[in-house]
């Protein structure tokens, strides 16, 4: 039975966040003083307040102190946060995702050790160091991926046996949430053997170093920061891990499976939030700005742009929430309620394309104001462009759909 209502709890939670974002986050986020400079430090005050509202533990089971929210709920809420600030949404989304996945994979003893720490401190986030098995794969549409695939920015972390535990060494150049993480989930290649081992490393582990958050430009100005949330490189230098901080192999496997799909859908929801902010700004402006003898929204050229934006936005939201629900209810595919597709790719690809276009159109309604750095529109455009060209969504990303349809296996 189809239903597009939210539950009373979802509505209440959504509105509370929407209210907080409108009142607090957005005015600060689009303050010209914040917009103009290249560097935009994470607004940690709001991060903590949102954590207090339950966003970090959103997906944790209730008995672990969380809200037990499914992916759909997370998408609804992340859209709200992203409409205020994209970085806050990305940080909280990643922590919520990892908290739930890790909690499921931990032993009781591990939970007993880490959950209280997580709960005790508002600014205790989670970060993952893992090689994305699919990186670069989409390009090799009709041949097996060779070993020499270029995988830029992937961590190279190696674990060496050390009694019952491990010694971990390596470097991960880009780790989301690293600047605010209290706990790192680290997947390392086992030295001299096939396979990997996954371990838990606290922020204060000896040998673990987190670099400064990534600056706007790197490599002598040849590279620009292209990432939302908080990101830094992490160095592991002879980090010792006892057997009690190792995630069991089967539990680790379960933890990783499905994690990428969930993250992609969370990102799609964040994308919707950013584009919505642009759309709402454009509608407000077009209703107020007077040129050509009338409010500009009454000019067909502007009206058409805004109509297109509204339509793309609703299409993206509808697809994202549907994909999230299906990910929450995988049986619906087998029971033939919905198509059998990699829904996370469908929603993420569509959303990224449609919403960059929509955001640019929103900015166009502002004329020259759209490109001014003291106005939020240029930032929204940039944010959606980053979302469109990122590790999980690039030129080749939709090929994963064709592959699924073709029944072709790389």
């Amino acid at each position: 039975m189809h239903d597009f209502r939210l539950t009373a709890e979802q509505l209440e939670f959504r509105d509370a966040i929407r209210d907080f974002v409108e009142r607090e986050v957005k005015p600060a986020a689009i303050d010209p003083k914040r917009l103009e400079p290249f560097e935009k430090p994470l607004m940690t005050g709001f991060l903590d307040q949102l954590s207090q509202m339950g966003l970090r533990g959103l997906a944790l089971p209730e008995d672990a102190g969380g809200a037990g929210a499914d992916l759909l709920t997370r998408c609804v809420l992340l859209e709200e946060i992203a409409a205020g600030d994209v970085d806050l949404a990305m940080v909280l989304g990643e922590t919520a995702l990892l908290a739930s996945a890790a909690h499921g994979a931990m032993t009781e003893a591990q939970r007993a050790r880490w959950v209280p720490k997580f709960e005790a401190e508002d600014r205790f986030h989670l970060a993952l160091l893992a090689r994305d098995g699919t990186a670069g794969r989409a390009w090799s549409y009709h041949q097996a991926v060779p070993e020499d695939a270029e995988t830029i920015g992937e961590p190279e972390v190696v674990a060496t046996r050390d009694g019952k535990g491990w010694t971990i060494n390596g470097l991960a150049p880009f780790v989301s949430n690293a600047p605010v993480a209290g706990l790192f989930i680290v997947q390392a290649k086992i030295d001299g053997e096939p396979g990997t081992v996954t371990v838990l490393l606290g922020r204060d582990a000896r040998g673990l170093e987190v670099d400064e958050a990534l600056p706007s430009f790197g490599d002598g100005g040849e590279r620009a920061r292209w990432h939302h949330g908080a990101v830094a490189s992490v160095v592991l230098n002879d980090c010792k891990v006892g057997a009690d901080d190792v995630i069991a192999a089967d539990a680790a496997h379960r933890m990783f499976s499905g994690m990428a799909a969930q993250r992609m859908l969370q990102t799609a929801a964040v994308n919707v939030g950013v584009a919505r902010a642009a759309y709402e700004a454009a509608v407000d402006y077009a209703k107020m700005r007077w040129q050509g003898g009338r409010h500009i929204i009454e000019h067909q050229s502007i009206g058409m742009k805004l109509a297109d934006v509204a339509i793309q936005l609703e299409a993206a939201r509808a697809l994202t929430l549907k994909a999230a629900w299906i990910t929450d209810h995988p049986d619906a595919v087998g029971e033939r309620h919905v198509s059998d597709l990699p829904w996370h790719v469908v929603a993420r690809s569509f959303t990224a394309q449609a919403l960059h276009r929509a955001t640019l159109e929103s900015a166009e309604c502002f004329g020259a104001m759209g490109v001014m750095r003291d106005m939020p529109l240029q930032k929204y455009v940039h944010d959606t462009l980053v979302l469109q060209h990122s590790v999980d969504c690039d030129l080749a990303a939709p090929l994963a759909v064709a592959e699924a349809v073709a029944g072709y296996s790389r």
Partner: protein, 397 residues
């Protein structure tokens, strides 16, 4: 039909290419990455380009300039833009108004302004029309609202005019030595009949530069706020006639401004195409060079195809303007077209490069940001709407 360049055209093109490659490009990213919008400008490169003739390219020979034709101007703009689009625009902004001086100014005005312009490598020109509440209203004043359009007020006081008000987003705002400024001299008439164009030297009493606008792209290029507080301008600085400001500009039939934007966009596209091809031939994904992937081949095809179509259109239009052929609107159409092309080509360049972990190639990013400027340049949508009146019933060849 002959699409080949003559020696002079080729000469300027090669000179511009060399200057862009050896001197503009090396500073392009560094200037783009300066956070303070006032600090992005670099006088050295402007003076150096001026020494090579790029500042005064369009001035008639009679006044000591090079009197380059539009084809040459288009070629030079594209080459300079290949080095940096906003540096190119800083030069061509000077051509735009030296066209106007040549077409509309009195001999006295030419003596007073064109001569110093020729003599000083640091003399650049600006123009102020846009105001906070008058953007597209200036370009297409609504018939039912005579008050629409700029409001900067100029009142006669003997041999002087007294100006009050402000202008926004003004080109070369913080660096120009002379501005052409539209002001209302009859507040009861619409802007076509009630406004006058003034030449405002930078040191005019009561005139000052306010804010320098901080933009997503074209960061080198200065857009400023002009503030007039009882600014006194001699009557001798009126361009054309009093209440004839719009007509004064119309005496320049070159419609240079539109070709200018199209040619500049062409330079960005050339740059993007070169970068994408270089990248695709030198980087692997999944064990194959990018250029061996069909997806990349199709993107490269698209980039070259659009760029070559734009080049064909730009050069044809420049030639038409040189010939002063009946104007069926190609100058506006080619500008509108360049907006579409520059967006698609710079984004395709980004598609091919892709992100590198949490980083993006800074120049790929810069080109996309510069391209965004085209979405509103010269009031793109307004021009599209306005041009319809000039379009012929059937197309000529």
């Amino acid at each position: 039909m002959d699409f080949s360049l003559n020696e002079e055209q080729r000469g300027w093109q090669m000179e511009a290419r060399k200057f862009a490659e050896e001197e503009i490009r090396p500073l392009s990213l560094a200037r783009d990455q300066i956070a303070d919008p006032k600090a992005t400008f670099d006088w050295k490169i402007i003076k150096r380009g001026s020494e090579l003739g790029f500042r005064t390219l369009a001035v008639p020979k009679e006044w000591g300039g090079h009197e380059a034709d539009f084809v040459t101007q288009a070629l030079v703009m594209a080459e300079l833009a290949r080095g940096d689009s906003s540096v190119s625009k800083t030069f061509s902004q000077c051509w735009k108004w030296s066209h106007l001086i040549a077409a509309s100014c009195t001999k006295d005005q030419k003596e007073r302004f064109l001569k110093p312009f020729m003599a000083d490598h640091g003399f650049v020109l600006g123009k102020g029309g846009t105001e906070a509440n008058a953007g597209s209203d200036n370009r297409m004043p609504p018939e039912n609202d005579p008050k629409a359009g700029w409001r900067l007020r100029a009142e006669r006081d003997g041999d002087h005019w007294v100006l009050n008000g402000s202008k926004m987003f003004i080109a070369n705002g913080s660096v120009a030595k002379l501005f052409f400024v539209d002001a209302r001299t009859n507040p009861d008439a619409n802007i076509r009949e009630g406004s006058t164009m003034f030449m405002i030297p930078r040191d005019t009493p009561g005139f000052r530069i306010g804010k320098v606008f901080n933009k997503r792209g074209w960061r080198f290029y200065q857009n400023g706020e002009l503030i007039f507080e009882n600014a006194r301008v001699p009557h001798a600085n009126v361009v054309g006639e009093v209440n004839g400001g719009v007509k004064a500009r119309a005496t320049d039939k070159s419609e240079f401004g539109d070709i200018e934007l199209a040619a500049n966009a062409l330079g960005i596209c050339d740059d993007a195409v070169g970068m994408a091809m270089h990248f695709a031939r030198n980087h692997k994904r999944a064990g194959k060079l990018l250029i061996d992937h069909q997806l990349v081949q199709l993107k490269l095809n698209e980039m070259y195809m659009l760029t070559e179509s734009l080049r064909s259109f730009v050069l044809r239009t420049a030639w038409e303007r040189d010939r002063k052929l009946p104007d069926y609107g190609n100058n506006v159409l080619v500008m509108n077209y360049s907006q579409e092309v520059v967006q698609r080509v710079t984004r395709a360049n980004m598609d091919i490069h892709g992100p590198e972990g949490a980083m993006m190639h800074a120049r790929v990013d810069k080109l996309v940001r510069d391209a965004m400027i085209w979405t509103h340049l010269a009031g793109d949508t307004v021009q599209r709407v306005k041009i319809v009146k000039r379009l012929p019933l059937t197309l000529p060849t």
